[in-house]
């Protein structure tokens, strides 16, 4: 069964089943790269873009009783297809003071919370990035640890601290200080948001600061800059991408935050998330709620794009 082989001709390559499959796909113009990319594209399409389109569609309908609780966009009457779009929901957003006030109030609360989170998170991230290696992982663990318990539970726990006869007031009572009113105020909302979103600020800042080349700081000191000057001229500008990333991760979800203002805030704490909830479940006005949601998306997307541009300008390498 031995056949003389010409050594200059390589033996024919055996095709594996997937090679055959691959070739067939290639003939149709589909490459492996496209298949890999297809998965996330499909995911975004099915779970993000399609629902978004549905919400946008509902926002152009009007409220009606029945199931579903909104008018159909398309109707067939006497053989003609009719498309009915109502812009009243959007017009209402601009004319009714409630919505405008809620948007502004949300942005204000989110902005102030982001700044406080940054002020607290930056030193923490800086410290974690500078401690010896063996401490670093433990400290990072501690930052992430709160995520192991339910978010709702942690917010409830905060009420235990801040309510009239809560831990803080009991402690103050020991010194004869009358109880402070903390619950149902904006203060409690800030505490809740800052506490909840602090890890989202620390982690991107940490990943940025840990990469900071120590010899740059030495070079700055060598050229006569004191530590504070070094921080302002070297560390801070170089950590700007981390600041932007962390701020976005706090600011964007904080705008739409619903649980924290409902549990900790008072009746005067106006946030768009609560308005949205009320439209959906109290007034059962789905089209209005959908319009609020779409408007919120626009409100969030604009600052994201601005921040992204700022970040690109810094990172530009």
């Amino acid at each position: 069964m031995t056949t003389a082989h010409d050594p200059t001709i390589p033996p024919p390559r055996r095709l594996k089943p997937w090679n055959v499959f691959e070739r067939r796909l290639a003939r149709m113009g589909i490459t492996g790269r496209m298949l890999v990319l297809a998965a996330p594209v499909l995911w975004l399409l099915v779970f993000f873009l399609v629902p978004l389109a549905v919400v946008f569609g509902i926002s152009l309908a009007t409220k009606q009783f029945g199931r579903p609780p909104y008018s159909a966009l398309l109707s067939t009457e006497e053989g003609t297809v009719q498309l009915t779009l109502h812009l009243s929901n959007y017009i209402r957003l601009f004319t009714d003071n409630l919505y405008v006030a809620a948007y502004f109030s949300s942005i204000r609360i989110a902005l102030i919370s982001t700044i406080i989170t940054l002020l607290i998170g930056y030193p923490m991230a800086y410290a974690i990035a500078r401690v010896p290696d063996r401490w670093r992982n433990i400290l990072l663990m501690l930052v992430i640890l709160p995520f192991w318990t339910s978010f709702l539970l942690r917010v409830y726990a905060l009420t235990g601290f801040m309510r009239g006869n809560g831990v803080i007031n009991q402690f103050l009572g020991l010194f004869g200080i009358p109880p402070l009113v903390m619950m149902q105020t904006d203060f409690a909302v800030y505490v809740g948001i800052v506490y909840t979103y602090l890890p989202f600020m620390i982690l991107p800042l940490y990943t940025n600061l840990v990469k900071l080349d120590g010899s740059l700081l030495e070079a700055s000191a060598d050229l006569g800059a004191r530590p504070l000057r070094t921080f302002l001229t070297i560390t801070l500008p170089l950590s700007l991408p981390g600041i932007v990333a962390g701020s976005m991760l706090v600011f964007i979800p904080a705008i739409g935050e619903f649980v924290i203002p409902s549990l900790l805030g008072g009746p005067e704490t106006l946030m768009i998330g609560r308005v949205l909830w009320d439209e959906f479940f109290t007034s059962t006005n789905w089209p209005r709620a959908a319009a609020v949601a779409i408007a919120m998306l626009v409100v969030v997307v604009v600052p994201i794009m601005l921040l992204q541009r700022a970040q690109n300008a810094v990172v530009e390498k």
């Binding site: 080349d213 010899s215 740059l216 030495e218 070079a219 700055s220 000191a221 060598d222 050229l223 006569g224 800059a225 004191r226 000057r229 001229t233 070297i234 500008p237 170089l238 810094v314 390498k317």
Partner: protein, 383 residues
Amino acid sequence: MAKKPQLAIDTRPWRDPANNKPFVRIRNVTKKFGDVAAVNDVSLDIYRSELFCLLGGSGSGKSTLLRMLAGFETPTSGTIEIDGQDMTDVAPYNRPVNMMFQSYALFPHMTVEQNVAYGLKRDHLPRAEIAARVSELLTLVKLQDYGKRKPHQLSGGQRQRVALARALAKRPKLLLLDEPLGALDKKLREETQFELVKIQEQLGVTFIVVTHDQEEAMTLATRIGVMNQGEIAMIGEPADIYEFPNSRFVAGFIGSVNMVEGIVTEDEPDHIRIRSGELGCDIYVGHGVDCAPDQLLWWAIRPEKMHLSRERPEVGHDANVTSGVVEEIAYLGDISVYQIALDSGKRIRVSQTNASRGNPDAITWEERVFVTWGDSSGSVLTS
């Protein structure tokens, strides 16, 4: 040791330490990291306008010593004086010293001009003066057209020059350079070496250069301090270090060397005789050495200090000639290196200049040859 003529003593203050005050004085400096002494009891005097090279392998403590001069590390014990002032506990930003970092440490978010101006701004100089100084420095390093670029838009050699300009901007009394040419390719490195020396002579700044590259140290330095395991093994001018090493470590670290063991058989004031079984002959050394009869010591000789011949040459004292068989020849163009297997089995390297082209009569493989050397060509080493 052999005597050398004392030339131009005025430009070499280290040859007359009694009448010259050192500019940098490192006294008994030790630096420990945990239990490990990175720098162990180093004392070193460096004079004004010197270009001093600290030469050593990795982990020899040369960088740690440099970082202590810059102020990034504090000595565990000992003192560092610069220009008569005790600098041991002075913060880096208060020292009259600047450093050029191994990785250059250019600020990536600043332009070349801003990088160079950084130290000047910290001194709160007037804006016009800063601008003038920056352009003067960029001209010095031939980067006058690159001021508006960011570091990532520059080549390795250009970055190196920006780092040099930045380190020189404040007109420091002392410039520390940590492997200044380490990141450059060979050709660029050779060009830059001479440029660096030129700038140093032009400005008269005292340079202390850390390097692991002996060739670089030989090219740059007025004096070299060879470091080994946290200690200074030898301090001397490049020629001293190469021709008159004081220990086996220094002889082996700088250049290539043949080293043999031997026993002193004659110890006279004007010569000594060493019997070496490894070499298969006696070594006659034409000067007195501080040793005793029957002492075990080492004798080191550079490959280019030996001569090859087919015929047994005439030698005096019945010494300084041995024979062996050519085992390998490495043709390097300018020289050829012969590896000779001596009768004892010891292998030595001898290099010969290729003075004529394509010499058909050249010594070749498997030939039996005689190896000779002069009375004072080798170094006698007792440690």
